[in-house]
């Protein structure tokens, strides 16, 4: 999977490394900004009230 991505990135090894880094950062950003905030309320840490509002 990662080998396939690496082979399909353009440029020499340095350019590929740079693009990979940008891709990794983008994925982490999307996770922290959108995916985790959506997933976190599904866990029980938010239930602090007595009437389940």
């Amino acid at each position: 999977m990662y080998g396939w991505i690496w082979r399909h990135l353009p440029g020499n090894a340095w350019v590929k490394a740079l693009i990979s880094l940008v891709l990794v950062l983008a994925v982490v950003y999307i996770l922290f900004q959108y995916v985790f905030p959506w997933a976190e309320p599904l866990l029980p840490f938010n239930d602090v009230t007595v009437d389940n509002q």
């Binding site: 999977m1 990662y2 080998g3 982490v28 996770l31 922290f32 985790f36 997933a39 976190e40 309320p41 866990l43 029980p44 840490f45 938010n46 239930d47 602090v48 009230t49 007595v50 009437d51 389940n52 509002q53």
Partner: protein, 221 residues
């Protein structure tokens, strides 16, 4: 064959990384974010108050707070001398990310009835992490910009189940209070990372003083 093994192991590594990142998010990042947001809410309140737009309201008005907006700051010396959190109207998930939440259908601050507030035990800045440390006699101080309200804890932490809605009644039966009064209830979850139970403390309004008179005795060190 080799391709399959490699792909499966890559997937496992990816899932592991995802889990680690999620734990970092829950344990650390929600706190970073919440501290910033709660600081903003307190700044907003203090700005509004310093502009002098808050008037002591006439006693009889049954006004309600604006949903989702901060209206008071809470101080609990037992939880730390720097512990202060904004109190917002409502107990929705989004509201509780920004501070403590006031149960909308309970009494207003300092009024006859039960002023009930919920807060996170863990995540989002861990506001009520040390909730079990609270003891009868501890002060819970609130200000709405015009008045300091000092409540004294009478009972708790009391452990109950999430469906026990009568703990935020105007006169909560299990609190030991027998007649109507000016009470305060704090609720959070128990165990720390779970949701099977709730922890409750009850307090009564001990004293009030105008903000011009300076901080109440409970906050002075």
């Amino acid at each position: 064959m080799r391709v399959i093994v490699r792909t499966v192991s890559e997937l496992c590594v990816t899932v592991g990384t995802l889990i680690v990142l999620f734990v970092v998010y829950v344990l650390f990042w929600t706190g970073v974010r919440a501290d910033r947001v709660m600081g903003d809410q307190i700044d907003r309140l203090q700005q509004r108050w310093s502009r002098g737009s808050v008037q002591p309201e006439p006693v009889a008005t049954p006004r309600t707070y604006e949903p989702g907006a901060p209206f008071a700051i809470m101080y609990i010396p037992r939880l730390g001398s720097t512990w202060n959190k904004p109190v917002l109207e409502g107990t929705g998930t989004g509201t509780l990310k920004k501070g403590l939440g006031h149960y909308a259908r309970t009494a207003r601050l300092g009024r006859e009835g039960n002023f009930a507030v919920a807060g996170h035990r863990r995540t989002y800045g861990d506001p009520f992490k040390d909730f079990p440390e609270l003891r009868p006699g501890d002060a819970v101080v609130l200000t709405d910009g015009t008045t300091w309200f000092t409540y004294r804890i009478d009972k708790g932490p009391y452990k109950t189940v999430p469906t026990d809605v009568e703990v935020i009644d105007p006169v909560p039966r299990k609190s030991g209070y027998t007649r109507p009064g000016r009470y305060l209830t704090l609720t959070t979850c128990d165990p720390e990372w779970g949701h099977s139970h709730r922890l409750i403390v009850w307090a009564h309004l001990d004293s009030t003083q105008p903000v011009e008179a300076g901080e109440p005795r409970a906050l002075r060190r």
